[in-house]
Subunit: 338 residues, 2 copies
DNA sequence: TTGTATGCGTTATCAA
DNA sequence: TTGATAACGCATACAA
């Protein structure tokens, strides 16, 4: 592989001049520049980013830390779509992405800051992390800029992007209320998830505004899992047949509820209206198709990477981005016919 | 950030000794090693992989080149699942992954080898590339090891992993034949895809073996797209109502056919049996659920990365891995009742 | 068992 | 406008 040294020799100049010529500095004679460019082309030169990184202490690299990148996350294409957005924004801003996928075992072996410093990433985007993850504290303590997806942490070097979960849930529940429902249950994720707490509060708000009393017994957790949701919903629905609508904190769980309803013989939406959250691909393919709160997952990723690059270039003081959600009405909800 | 220099100073030894102590060389006194380790811990040292890469000319990095990593690929989680496998295998073999996403514009700007040399990746895994992609020739010419997913190229430095597409298709069509079908159409992808050619040949083979004449008019292309498949199938099925079964080169297209059939009023599977290919997540959620040929996407990725690392370490002469597929019978196929 | 010196490919400082 | 030289953090050949 040709280096600037080779070019220097071939062009009869010093490496300094080659470096400057190739990097577009003004203090180099146009003729020499052209000659050097020509030689570089002939030698099929490409700069060695590793060497450059070492001397500049800038790697132009963002670490993409994904907790448990695995098949189980495949169903809701959530991660993937976010990644697409991150990838595009990073690329637009001239950063490369290096993939770190962690799991508890790896976290034990290597600390967050070790991971980052080893590869000399300039910043990090984290996704799929739970609010009790041990890395979280390290992120705060560390001085390397980090943007979190769906974890509401802020600080000098840490920002986040999320969607308006409270309002999104309000929309969902309000939609049900507008359809005449009053006995509305909620199938939430789990208490460790920030989004779960937000969505619960949106649910309560909507009920409150409509003057419907909040009932503790109407709220349950499905761990964001389809099978778990099915089990929980099955038990709940067999016991509470006065309930006419259910708001689920994820589409995947809504799919589980759909199953449970089918098993019990409750027809959706005639006897039970269901609203999901996320608008995953599957939401359009289920029967009935899911009414849901759509999150722009691609946009979340895009904004996350954009925020990070802005932080890296110190061109912003912003540390929080909240995107709007949208109610998508499909087939799983309908007017209550009392 | 602490460097070995700092450690050397603090421990009162030379950088050489530090380097050797930390890298587990035998020619260093155990006591000094322990002291150095302690100092390193105190200074919260982590090695700088960039510097190490430069001097060793080994980056322990694999480039993951994904053509058009974007939302459109989100529906079939194909890429994502393959990526999960790649990620795991790379991690198991102590390589990191750097994400390159290309598109025609970027390819214009930067050649394959430039891309690789800049980041000094040791090897590359490519996915989602079409058989007329300009990078393909560069891959062959280049001396940097590369493993392709679903593109059957081989050479000194290039290998591939794919599944047995011919046999997979044979299984699919044979399944239909066993159910009594004889008028079996095929909805293929496009001619630029190697897998399409393979799957077509499997289709022909199965027909041949059963003594059913191959009919050119029964084969069409749907570009691997759901909407395109729907259109093509709609036109075809309205004109050829003698056809009782259709083999699709992807599940996504099978979903399109399902739509077309519904629009026309052909019930599936009673009047039309459909077999897909891939076994994407959606296949289990459609109505009826798709009978399909399952490819182990995760395994494809895992094997790809494993093959590449083996090539990098020159521990194998193998350049081709072919995985078996599996027929998964669900609800979209049934006995022909004539 | 330890240290000195050199180099990896690049950019940056300073002098010419 | 150009060049000599040092530096980035690390590994290694060689010397001690």
């Amino acid at each position: 592989m040709a280096t600037i040294k080779d070019i220097a020799k071939a062009a009869g100049v010093s490496v300094t001049t080659v470096s400057r010529a190739l990097n577009g500095y003004s203090d180099v004679n146009e003729k020499t520049r052209i000659r050097i460019r020509k030689v570089a082309d002939e030698l099929n030169y490409s700069p060695n980013a590793v060497a450059r990184s070492l001397v500049m202490s800038k790697t132009k690299t963002i670490g993409l830390l994904v907790s448990e990148l695995n098949r189980s996350g495949a169903k809701d294409m959530f991660m993937f779509e976010v990644m697409c957005g991150i990838n595009d924004a990073a690329s637009d801003n001239d950063y490369d992405l290096i993939l770190f996928s962690t799991n508890p075992a790896k976290q034990q072996a290597k600390s967050y800051s070790q991971l980052c410093r080893e590869r000399q990433v300039e910043g990090v985007i984290m996704q799929g992390i739970k609010s009790h993850d041990p890395y979280l504290q390290e992120i705060i303590d560390s001085n390397i800029p980090c943007v979190l997806v769906d974890v509401e942490l802020e600080g000098e070097n840490v920002g986040h992007v999320t969607t308006d979960n409270v309002f999104g849930s309000q929309m969902a529940v309000k939609h049900l209320i507008n359809l005449g429902h009053e006995k509305i249950a909620m199938l939430n994720g789990h208490d460790q998830a920030a989004v779960s707490r937000k969505r619960l509060s949106g649910y309560r708000k909507a009920l409150e505004e409509a003057g419907i009393p909040f009932k503790e017994e109407y709220v349950m957790n499905g761990e964001f899992r389809e099978d778990q949701a099915e089990t929980v919903a099955f038990n709940f629905l067999t016991r509470n047949n006065e309930v006419t609508a259910m708001f689920c904190a994820s589409d995947l769980m809504a799919l589980g509820v759909l199953r449970a309803a089918r098993r019990i013989g409750i027809s959706v939406p005639e006897k039970l209206s269901i609203v999901g959250f996320d608008d995953i691909t599957l939401a359009q393919y289920s029967h009935p198709q899911l009414t849901t709160i759509a999150q722009d997952k691609y946009q979340m990723g895009y904004e996350a990477a954009r925020l990070l690059t802005a932080m890296l270039e110190k061109s912003t003081k912003k540390r929080r981005i909240i995107l709007d959600n949208q109610l998508v009405v499909r087939e799983s909800t309908t007017q209550l016919n009392s």
